[in-house]
């Protein structure tokens, strides 16, 4: 018999290390032709921290995304980036890039102010132009600004770092400020369970994530889709088996450790939710780990809803489902 069930899973996630300093830094230089070097320590493992760094630099400097070249994760040239972990690089390296660019903007603003006769605080840098926020007919192009910088012998360079505002936690009761900001998520997921074979078919998943300000929409959606695949697989297909005698992993290969394929994942509807805040760069928060989390409890709940069971342990494999269903039927009789 096939039975359907729905589950809800929510989470919050503190971005960065728990109650510990975890700074990251960035270097920036705007070159004479308005192209830019940004150097960060953050390791990009495919999640997009370098794309994030380019985006934040372009937004801060008022240049285009394509103007920015990012060098990353080479300790000879790049300052400390800390680990690519704890969903922290958008928040922390992002703020470091913003701070480095803000420093570089110092000389750029001074020069533009002199050239345009506009007070520094009224200047707006956007889309490769500099103009007065009070009268946007007073404007100059970025290349013209860099030419003026060159004539005056000024360089647009910056170094910045950021360390989240946290406190050490009290060893007695863990009181304190463990994280400066938190990401949030809700997943609603539907499954179909075959009570004869124990097979779980993942039907649809809606997963809504508060990321503050999304740096890139598709990058956030990609994280949510990938995270949902990993989270549902956590419950119904992935498990390390350990040999009881040697304590070796018995299934260290992809043929024996089953991760979901495109045939297994549910249809995912990612929802990018924004919220207002000052802590992250332009209000951005991390989504790398939050993307995974809510689909795990949602899958457990959906299976329980389909069968009327009370699974509280993972994984839930077909044999577990068949056994639980038989017990439930026997109890009903």
């Amino acid at each position: 018999m096939k039975r359907r069930g729905t589950g809800v899973g929510c989470m919050f996630y503190g971005v960065g290390n728990t109650g510990l300093p975890n700074p990251a830094a960035a270097f920036v230089q705007v070159l004479g032709d308005t192209s830019v070097h940004v150097t960060v320590g953050a390791a990009d493992i495919g999640q997009g921290s370098s794309t994030m760094a380019a985006s934040v630099a372009a937004e801060t400097l008022g240049l285009n995304y394509e103007d920015i070249h990012v060098v990353w994760a080479d300790t000879m040239y790049a300052p400390e980036g800390g680990a690519t972990s704890a969903s922290r690089q958008t928040f922390i390296t992002g703020n470091a890039v913003k701070n480095a660019c803000t420093q570089a903007l110092g000389e750029l603003k001074r020069t533009a102010s002199e050239e345009l006769n506009v007070p520094e605080e009224d200047l707006i840098f956007r889309d490769r132009e500099i103009y007065s926020g009070k009268d946007d007919s007073i404007r100059m192009t970025y290349p013209a600004l860099m030419a003026a910088m060159g004539k005056k012998g000024r360089l647009a360079v910056g170094a910045g770092y950021y360390n989240p505002k946290t406190t050490y936690l009290d060893p007695k009761d863990m009181s304190g400020v463990p994280y400066e900001l938190y990401s949030y998520a809700t997943c609603i997921l539907e499954v179909e369970v075959d009570t004869d074979t124990g097979e779980v078919t993942l039907l649809k998943a809606v997963s809504a994530h508060d990321v503050g300000t999304p740096i890139g929409i598709k990058m956030v959606e990609g994280q949510i889709e990938g995270g949902t695949a990993m989270g549902t697989g956590f419950v119904i297909s992935e498990k390390i088996d350990i040999d009881p005698k040697t304590l070796a992993i018995k299934n260290p290969t992809l043929s024996k450790y089953i991760i979901e394929t495109s045939m297994d994942v549910p249809v995912v509807y990612p929802i990018v939710v924004s919220s207002e805040g000052e802590a992250g760069p332009f209000g951005a928060k991390g989504v790398g780990e939050p993307a995974l989390i809510p689909s795990i409890p949602a899958t457990v709940a959906a299976i329980n809803d389909a069968l009327g069971t009370d699974f509280t342990s993972t994984p839930i494999f077909p044999a577990d489902i068949v056994k639980a269903w038989k017990e439930r039927e026997a109890a009903a009789k």
């Binding site: 080479d74 009761d173 463990p178 649809k204 290969t253």
Partner: protein, 428 residues
């Protein structure tokens, strides 16, 4: 949301083109003139003293440049992101299946394997500790030092013991989550060489290049500015490439041979020795009023963290802070104990203990909803974090709390794309 010039839209990722074109250089793709291949001789027992280690036959094999054990290490031989408790090469005892005992560098990968096969070892086996329960017993063998307790944490907020009296409903359940593998698509790999200035260069698949640099410097006993770690294009990690993998072994072999040494782990070796997700057991008691307001949560959390600490101290710090989930609750206790065993090392894995905590707190919210005949979305909305909420460490949330919007937007989208599924959530 503000109107941005660059953000909140889509740009081609900075590394997209080389990945699509197949020109991105992963660590295994690097080749250098005069390069050697490296390999690791590993334990096939979980807990043992090494009585005898014979490297001579392997050293005598033509084409083998060098075979080293721990005595070759010029600097430190204890590593780890938080506690330095893992050796580069075993010097006192084997603590898990797959512990590194010796390293080989040879002209070809085939010769590396031949040399590894010629290494002889005699073990004096010890009882292996394979469960949290056994680890905690007084007479159990100790994996490190004189206790198997790796880390403990205690969170206490409000007054849990007095709170139960004011609850209309209490649910108690025990949750357990299992051990998982990251299965990042690219197995660990790296290359080390001394450059013309005598600086040790390491190119590696990693999530943590600055940490790697510091560990390589400690191993070699040189200043940190005499080591360069460059991240190669990296095929995923999910936390599994935060610990040291091939970096130390490659650097040690490059130091002795004065030649570039490359190591590429097979899928099997990579999965065997990289960190795993912490399996946790959470015994949890949760109380609420009849209108669904959380009153108290008390959780006892245990975990078999495996043979080395890795990120266990981070996971045990994070999980208790998140044990209630994104909900207001005035009385919270969480006591957590992580133990050393001779099982595979657990470490960082996407979520750092929060996925485990979420299985618990969401299970409890559903149990409460069931007991109170409430819609599971409704009970979450009643308790949802908002600006001004105080979490169980006493921290007040002052901005950027979008939880209620995620609940509402998920519900609205579900009403559109899966209306029957949403309907099913309503209490009978």
């Amino acid at each position: 949301m503000k109107e941005y010039a660059v953000l909140a839209q889509d740009h081609v990722k900075v590394d997209a083109l080389e990945k699509v074109m197949g020109t991105a250089k992963y660590a295994a793709d690097y080749q250098m003139p005069n390069m050697l291949y490296g390999g690791v001789f590993r334990s096939i027992v979980p807990h043992a003293y090494i009585k005898k280690l014979d490297l001579e036959k392997a050293r005598a094999l033509p084409g083998v440049a060098c075979v080293l054990d721990h005595t070759a290490i010029p600097g430190k031989n204890r590593f780890g992101i938080i506690f330095k408790d893992e050796p580069c090469l075993v010097d006192d005892k084997v603590r898990r299946y797959g512990d590194a005992i010796a390293v080989v560098a040879a002209e070809t990968q085939e010769l590396v394997q031949e040399a590894l096969d010629l290494i002889e070892v005699e073990y004096e086996e010890l009882e292996a500790v394979s469960t949290f329960e056994r680890a905690m017993e007084e007479d159990s063998p100790k994996v490190h030092g004189d206790t198997n307790v790796n880390v403990t944490k205690h969170l206490e907020y409000g007054n849990v013991d007095e709170a139960w009296e004011t609850c209309d409903v209490i649910v108690e359940n025990t949750y357990s989550t299992h051990i998982l593998s990251h299965m990042f698509i690219e197995p660990d790999a790296g290359l080390a060489y001394l450059d013309e200035q005598g600086i040790m260069n390491v190119i590696a698949s990693t999530q943590n290049p600055h940490y790697d640099r510091n560990e390589v410097a400690a191993l070699l006993g040189v200043p940190q500015n005499r080591v360069r770690v460059k991240q190669a294009t990296t095929g995923g990690g999910f936390g599994g490439k935060l610990d040291i993998s091939v970096q130390l072994h490659c650097a040690l072999l490059a130091l002795y041979t004065k030649r570039p040494v490359k190591m590429v782990r097979s899928r099997t070796e990579s999965t065997m020795v990289s960190s795993k997700r912490h399996p946790m057991t959470m015994k949890c008691k949760t109380g609420a009023t009849k209108d669904g307001k959380l009153v108290a949560v008390d959780c006892y959390m245990t975990c078999d963290a495996g043979a080395y600490s890795s990120y266990a101290p981070a996971v045990i710090g994070r999980a208790p802070v998140h044990i209630v989930g994104p909900y207001d609750c005035p009385n919270v206790r969480c006591h957590a104990v992580f133990a050393y065993t001779n099982n595979p090392m657990c470490g960082a894995f996407r979520g750092f203990g929060v996925p485990q905590a979420a299985v618990c707190h969401e299970g409890q919210m559903n149990a409460l909803a069931k007991a109170l005949h409430m819609d599971p979305l409704e009970i979450r909305m009643i308790n949802a974090h908002h600006v001004g909420s105080v979490i169980p460490t006493g921290q007040e949330l002052t901005e950027s709390v979008g939880f209620m919007d995620t609940l509402k937007q998920a519900r609205d989208k579900a009403a559109e794309v899966m209306p029957e599924a949403l309907e099913r959530l309503k209490p009978e």
